[in-house]
């Protein structure tokens, strides 16, 4: 669990995505509680205000909700929402850098697509 300061995403977004990852893999189930901002900020050694910003962002997007006096919980349908979000960002985040590198290496779109397909197959095994 580490913050990457060289990442172009600000820290609070990295926090938010860390929580989203947790939701996706089932570490934070729907209707379950997520760690408090204190726990998050202590673990990552970051300013609590930053942790709060990340959590608040997810709350605004409806991925988390607050239960008064108890803390933040994963909303129903959060998994679906996170997947949607990631899909929308998939092109900018992963596809564009991939095509940039592919171009640099002189790969054609066809060759690139084949490599992608092979990778899919390998992952399944």
């Amino acid at each position: 669990m580490k913050i990457n300061f060289e990442d172009e995403r600000p820290i609070f977004l990295q926090i938010a995505e860390g929580i989203e990852d947790g939701i996706l893999v089932g570490a934070y189930p729907e209707d379950g509680q997520i760690p408090s901002t204190t726990e998050i900020s202590v673990t990552y050694k970051i300013n609590p205000a930053t942790a709060l910003k990340g959590v608040s962002r997810l709350a605004e997007e409806g991925i988390l909700y607050k239960r008064r006096g108890l803390g933040m919980f994963v909303a129903e349908g959060a998994i679906r929402k996170v997947k949607q979000k990631r899909k929308a960002a998939f092109v900018d985040r992963h596809v564009k850098p991939l095509t940039r590198e592919a171009k640099r290496l002189g790969l054609t779109p066809g060759e690139t697509a084949e490599l992608i397909e092979r990778s899919f197959r390998d992952e399944e095994n």
């Binding site: 820290i11 900020s41 202590v42 970051i46 300013n47 930053t50 640099r104």
Partner: protein, 283 residues
């Protein structure tokens, strides 16, 4: 409005202008980073803010009152400096007792809790502690004073990686419990980059930069590529520093990044806080 305000503060030691016309503001509830190279004037600033050194010019106020020779104002501040001002023969637990007498909001339970976390035997004499243990003892005091403004000058001096890690965690916990104003001055910039909300960079006695960490990190990036391409890019986007390894050049730029303006031959990466600091303050 509760805050510490420095207005046009200057200080010279003989021929050396240690601080030159610096204006700063610190508010409670935030963690600040005061960064600068050795001799840049950070310690002088901290000493002036706590009434230890008198400025030649300018004013320093704590919640509206001048800090100079003012017990009430000085009582709101605590400076953990690099020097150990404890008398020979005083033991850690006595030091805690005295701190409680001078600082009415001192949390003795917390001090002992921190000492335990740092593996300090409170029966030991302060002057007999090693550098690292002395730092940890003074941190235990600093984090327990309950003062609204706490200054930590090189708070991890002599601490190994494990204890540094521990300190940052304890600091966050303490900050949540007691959201005072914390000002950290340190050379280990990357380790505190996530903790500090606002950055002040001091260079040669002057305030070079004052910005929120988030915005500052968003504004720094590196372009790497063939020398010509980099030079062409730098013409429109002035760099704060450059490095060259043969035909490969890197330029460090402070400004908003527009990926569409970056030619394909150039590789872009973000600058972290320490790299930004180095580029901004090196000769």
């Amino acid at each position: 409005m509760k805050k510490i305000e420095l207005k046009n503060v200057s200080k010279a030691f003989g021929q050396v202008q240690a601080v030159n016309d610096v204006s700063l503001t610190f508010e409670p509830g935030k963690i600040y980073g005061l960064l600068g190279r050795n001799g840049a004037g950070k310690s002088t600033l901290l000493n002036m803010m706590t009434g230890r050194v008198f400025p030649d010019a300018g004013t320093i106020t704590v919640d509206g009152e001048s800090v100079i020779e003012n017990d009430r104002a000085m009582g709101k501040l605590y400076l953990m400096g690099e020097r150990n001002f404890y008398p020979d023969g005083m033991r850690i637990r006595d030091a805690f007792c005295w701190a409680a007498k001078f600082y009415p909001n001192f949390d003795s339970e917390n001090a002992n809790h921190l000492a335990k976390k740092f593996d300090l035997n409170t029966k030991r004499k302060v002057k007999e502690l090693s550098t690292g243990m002395s730092t940890m003892f003074r941190l235990s005091v600093a984090l327990s004073t309950g003062a609204p403004y706490i200054f930590l000058d090189e708070p991890v001096l002599g601490l190994d990686a494990v204890h540094r890690d521990l300190f940052y965690k304890l600091l966050v916990e303490q900050f949540e419990r007691h959201p005072a104003c914390y000002v950290i001055s340190t050379h280990l910039i990357e380790e505190v980059a996530g903790l500090i909300e606002e950055v002040f960079i001091i260079r040669a006695g002057e305030l070079l930069l004052r910005e929120s960490t988030e915005r500052l990190l968003a504004r720094g990036y590196t372009v790497t590529g063939p020398v010509d391409a980099v030079d062409a890019f730098v013409e429109d986007h002035p760099s704060i520093g450059e490095d060259q390894l043969g035909g490969l050049k890197s330029a460090y730029i402070l400004g908003s990044l527009d990926m569409s303006k970056v030619p394909e031959t150039l590789e872009v990466s973000k600058l972290n806080l320490q790299q930004l600091f180095v580029q901004l303050t090196k000769e």
